[in-house]
């Protein structure tokens, strides 16, 4: 247990936060890597997911992509990209690492956006169309607000993945809090590894907590009331693609 006390003492000493390889710089780098990667992934994945959820086309592709992405060992893909980057003359730059983090963040965001729109009740969609809403109005005023909780869930999951993967990226790239872990393991300095572990775990928990609050804030009041009533029954929610009632409206 003394490891943990030593590690906390190190973290709490302000002197260890300063400098180029201090906690502050590494934390900033970890956050920057995470932020840039999640943002780039969101720019691609969110509009695409909303479109797929709205049109109902490409559903199989989303499920296929998320499933295949899960089977890929991230650690291997990360090292592959970094080595290919070196072979193509990039050197040990951040490019390949960010590319992997973006690829990794896309499936949860895509699935969150798509599942959020798909979970909107057919009756609600029909009612919006009956009121004369255009497809764009339907998407932005009805489907998007109702999809926000699941979309925020996708964002939370993507952020979690990227923070964790940015940690192991310290094995092949400079910077990030993962450096403490890698240095500690490579030099058999257990306290140093525990310092990294504590910092990375705290960062992940903090970001997850913030995003959980965001998720709650963006949940429309009616939806949250409905959700508490039907906890545990999400599997029974009727799938929108089977909504036969919707087809004539689209054609008419």
């Amino acid at each position: 247990m003394s490891f943990f006390l030593d590690a906390f003492a190190f973290i709490l000493d302000p002197a260890n936060w300063a400098g180029d390889v201090g906690i502050g710089a590494r934390l900033a780098r970890h956050l920057a890597l995470t932020g840039v990667s999640v943002l780039l992934a969101a720019v691609v994945a969110v509009p695409l997911g909303l479109l797929i959820g709205h049109t109902g086309r490409g559903r199989a592709a989303v499920i296929g992509i998320t499933g295949a992405a899960r089977a890929l060992p991230t650690f291997g893909v990360l090292i592959l990209f970094v080595l290919l980057g070196i072979q193509f003359g990039q050197g040990l730059s951040e490019g390949p690492v960010i590319a992997v983090l973006v690829i990794l963040a896309i499936p949860p965001l895509l699935a969150g956006a798509y599942a959020g729109v798909e979970a909107v009740d057919d009756v609600t969609v029909d009612a919006a169309r009956a009121q004369g809403m255009t497809e764009w109005q339907l998407l932005t005023r009805v489907e998007l607000p109702l999809a926000l909780p699941l979309l925020a869930g996708g964002l939370r999951s993507a952020t979690l993945q990227v923070v964790a993967t940015a940690t192991i990226a310290a094995y092949v790239a400079q910077g990030g809090l993962g450096r403490y872990l890698i240095e500690g393991i490579q030099t058999r300095d257990y306290v140093r590894a525990v310092i990294g572990a504590i910092l990375v775990a705290l960062l992940a928990l903090l970001l997850d907590g913030i995003l959980a609050v965001v998720q709650r804030l963006v949940t429309p009041r009616g939806v949250s009331r409905g959700a508490t009533r039907t906890t545990g029954t999400t599997a029974r929610r009727p799938s929108r693609s089977s909504g036969a009632t919707r087809a004539p409206v689209t054609e008419g």
């Binding site: 291997g76 599942a115 029974r236």
Partner: protein, 224 residues
């Protein structure tokens, strides 16, 4: 490719090691999450406590958990047990939510009918609730299985990642082929595990051929 033929023994040995180190957490995590999931589906308090506790564990990045566990368990830092325990905790966290959904998906009317027909509590669980929850449990278990197989490779950084060894070794030698082979074999192993689960589902749940709603874990999963 010539590297693969020259090192086939090594690759197969690592694949076997990978299968064991990933297989134990999948089986233990599934078995342990059933009673916990059942409890959580019945009691709101238990659900709150269990889901919160496992969500905290699940949020901790894998490498951090691999490193912290020796301090908690009193094991050596390179002991494979740390990795097995960490992956089991992740598997339980993923499976627990799935199990709560699965048991919750069994209609209350069906359970009430079973009680009216004279089923005891335990009998009702084993013969009515568990089989009906089966398809959703299986869908979630498949997600857990694939995630665990791919996540294990991270453990190469603490010396017991099965096929993940090919990634660290390939990086140190700047040898792309070795890494590609590591990725291919990891994916193949995940597919084999998945095929086994699908087959087991066909045998054990013959009535469950109908499509199952996308499990919640599809949005979540875990990569590192």
């Amino acid at each position: 490719m010539s590297w693969l033929w020259a090192n086939l023994d090594l690759v197969l040995r690592l694949t076997a090691e990978h299968a064991v180190l990933a297989g134990i957490p999948i089986v233990v995590g599934f078995a342990a999450s059933l009673p916990l999931g059942w409890l959580a589906s019945r009691s709101r308090v238990a659900r709150g406590i269990l889901l919160t506790a496992f969500n905290v564990v699940y949020t901790i990045p894998a490498l951090a958990l691999f490193v912290v566990l020796p301090g908690v368990l009193g094991t050596r830092i390179l002991d494979p047990l740390n990795v097995v325990v960490a992956l089991t905790l992740y598997a339980m966290a993923m499976m627990l939510r799935g199990a709560v959904d699965a048991f919750g998906s069994v209609s209350g009317d069906v359970l009430a009918s079973a009680t009216a027909q004279g089923f005891s509590g335990a009998g009702r669980f084993w013969t009515v609730q568990l089989p009906l929850a089966g398809p959703v449990l299986l869908a979630n278990l498949r997600v857990v299985s694939v995630s665990t197989v791919s996540l294990l490779s991270v453990a190469a950084l603490v010396g017991s990642g099965g096929l993940g060894y090919l990634f660290t070794n390939g990086y140190q030698r700047y040898f792309v082929d070795e890494i590609v082979i590591g990725i291919v074999f990891t994916v193949l192993l995940a597919l084999v595990f998945d095929a086994i689960l699908v087959l087991a589902g066909r045998v054990l749940l013959p009535w469950a051929r109908r499509r199952i709603a996308t499990p919640r874990a599809v949005v979540e999963g875990r990569a590192a």
